[in-house]
Structures are given as C-alpha cells and as structure tokens.
Symmetry: C3
C-alpha cells in the first residue's frame, strides 16, 4: 500500500482485512475505461475468515449491518491489493448488495446501509445501490456486495 | 422538468410518479463516463406509495406486469429529478429486473416485459436485460429494476 | 461469422450453439462506450433447447458446472450473432452468475467456474465475477449468466 492509499483509509479511521483470493477461476478487480469492477465480496473477520449465516434466523439485523460494513472493507482491500490503486478511486459508482436472508425478511436496506455509510465516510458524491435478499449465497456468507468505482488514470498512463 | 424532458414523456403519453428518495444511505442516480446508473426502483402507485406483495400468491402475472411498467416510470422519475437530464438520455443500455416471486413461478420475463415495452416506446435501439426471481425484496416490493442509461453530455460540458 | 470470429473459437476448440432470440422485449447485446452488455443467457443443448432444473435436487453440481460452461457458449453465440463482433472482444470484464439452487446449496462458485474456465481459455486478462444462488430463474433454467465484455471499435469507426 502506498502512502496515498493509507491516507484514504486514515481519513475514515478504517483498518482493512487481508485481501481475499477469489473462490473460483476469476479475479477480484478489473479496471477498464475509467471504472473498477470489483467481484462480489464477503464479510471477513479480522483474521480474514468469511462470516456465514442467514439473516432472520442465525444472524440479527444489527449484526448483519456490521457484516455489510465488513464487506465494504473487503471491497476496499481488493482495490488496495494493487499498490496505488485505492488513492486513484474518485467515486463509488454503484453497489449491488445481496443479503442472505429468510424469505420474510424485509430490512434488507437497513443491513446494506452498513456498507454505504462506510463508503460515504470515505468517498465524495454518493453512490447508486441496488438491494436484494437471497436464499443462498456462495459458502453461506451473510452478505455479498459487488461494486463499481470510478478511477483516475495512473500518473504514467497516456492522457 | 425542462420542456425537453416533458417532450420525451409526451411522446409516449406517460405521466411520472414523484421521484422517490432512496431508502438508505445512497443516491438514486450516478452519472459517470457517459452512463447513468440508476439504483433499483420499486413500483409506485399514483400517490408514490410502493406496491408490495409476492407474485404467484398475492399478486398475479398481469398485475405484476403492470407493476413492472410502474417501476419503469419510477426509473424515469429518478432520471427526471434533475431538470434536463431525461432529455439527454440517448438509450437504455441494460436493465436488471427482479421479481419478488414464489419459487415455482416461471413467468418472470413476461412480468418484466411491462418495463421493457414502456422503454422501447420511448427510447430507440433496444436494451439488454437480465431477469431473475427473488424470494425477498426490500420492504416486500413486488418488482425491483435497476437501469443503466447512455447519456449525452450537458450542453455546457467540455467536449 | 467472419474468419476472425471463427479463429477466436478455434483457439479454444469450441463450437457455439445457435444464438437465442431474447425471451421478451429486449435485445441480447448492447454496445456502448467500448463495452458490450450481454443480457443474461441460459444453458442450451446442441439443438438450442434451454436446459432446465434446480441444482441440489434435480441437477447435481457436476452437471450444473457443465451447464455453466454451456451458458458461456450461449453468451459467445450472442456476441457472435453480429459478424465480426467476437473478434473485436478484447477482454471479459465482469460476469453476474446466477444458479437456480435449493436454499442450502453452497457450491455456487464451483458451478460458475464452468463458465469462467471457458472464458479464461479464450480471452486474456481475467474477469470479475459475482456469484449468487436463486430459487427461481426464468422458465426454470439451471444457470443464468450476464456478461460485460470490453470491445475494440470497428475498423470503420472514427477513432
């Protein structure tokens, strides 16, 4: 992580978990055309272990919201896995937020606000978000969030 | 709404519901790189109240299809909430259509055609669409649709 | 299909199914701003018939993985439906992978690797991917995958 990357995190007082290798034959981050596409991430405990369980029976709304924030940290860790990349992010464009929930659970947006609040504390300008509840997420993780960030070109890129 | 925005709607004879503030800590529309990303919207009755209930038990296919059209109107209302923005839209790029449905409901595409037909009546060129059924949507809304539009720069933007 | 398109497929030794018309009032592929947005596609048998059934009861993980690969072929068939387009693809940017699964099924990523392995064998650079399990897909198809590809301009386009 570069000093610029660390400064982004220090502004919000956040500490990142270790970036996770994707579970499968894909990569965590693709940069193209001024956008970063980040694969859906899971909430991680401080040791980097995914947090599992369904909301509405095994996990309550408050804990799920904390896990959505942790998922936001995992998204940032994926971005920061290439030195200098986090400090090039200019905006969060769009989140797809998915909550592993029983079918009558309706506080999905409250859960996902845990991630949005993290991001609005770090990045200017607001972001679009789409919220859904799902009965099955990979490996039974509690929350999965996919993100698109706007990113400035590298200082070395042709303008 | 500018006269240009109103002309877009008049061509299709549609009346928009009031734009909804997002339920959560995010914004409804983000413009970046020639695209508008619009957060997932719900169907609204004329007073702006979200229409709730699951398809396949509480709501039938015909009513769900009408609600998908209403969701399209809510997407346009979000775009139109900034004066002049609707008239800059050049194309619908992609919809993610989600239907709150019982697990054996398979007429998901028929439901979402309610939105696509609205949009093909207003915008040229067709759009991509991905359709899914979900057992839980935020606040038990019947349909949720996320959209990406292509948009021309503001007349005042540097070219 | 142009010789350039055929060469892309020959490199990976793949044969495409017939491109499917979208089921609904939308188009399969939208090109805008250097990206191809391809509507969610279904797995097809060699005759072009969609493969149906839920993973975890009617379909096992191995068969579902083979169907995810077939879904990747259907995505390529959609791209290739315009001659010369497949050979302009420079990268897979992002997949949204959806598996029609019982709610306690957790091998979702293993299933979707069937598509990712196909794509990493054809295109350089890796891709982002978001994986979800769903209790209902249109017409009860087993897998649905939406894709965004990066694409070079046509030789005749203004640079």
């Amino acid at each position: 992580m570069t000093p610029g990357d660390a400064a982004v995190l220090a502004r919000a007082g956040v500490v990142l978990p270790p970036a996770q290798p994707p579970v499968g034959t894909f990569v965590a981050v693709v940069e193209t055309g001024g956008l970063l596409h980040v694969s859906g991430q899971a909430p991680l405990d401080p040791a980097g272990i995914p947090l599992r369980g369904r909301v509405g029976d095994e996990v309550d709304t408050g804990e799920a919201r904390a896990r959505a924030r942790r998922t936001g940290l995992a998204l940032l860790a994926a971005v920061a896995s290439e030195p200098g990349r986090l400090s090039r992010v200019t905006r969060v464009v769009r989140l797809l937020g998915m909550v592993n929930a029983v079918s009558d659970f309706t506080e999905i947006s409250e859960v996902l606000d845990g991630c949005s609040e993290l991001f609005t504390g770090i990045f200017p300008g607001g972001h679009a978000r789409t919220d859904v509840g799902l009965p099955a997420l990979p490996s039974n993780i509690t929350v999965e969030i996919e993100a698109v960030f706007a990113i400035a070109p590298k200082a070395s890129d042709p303008q």
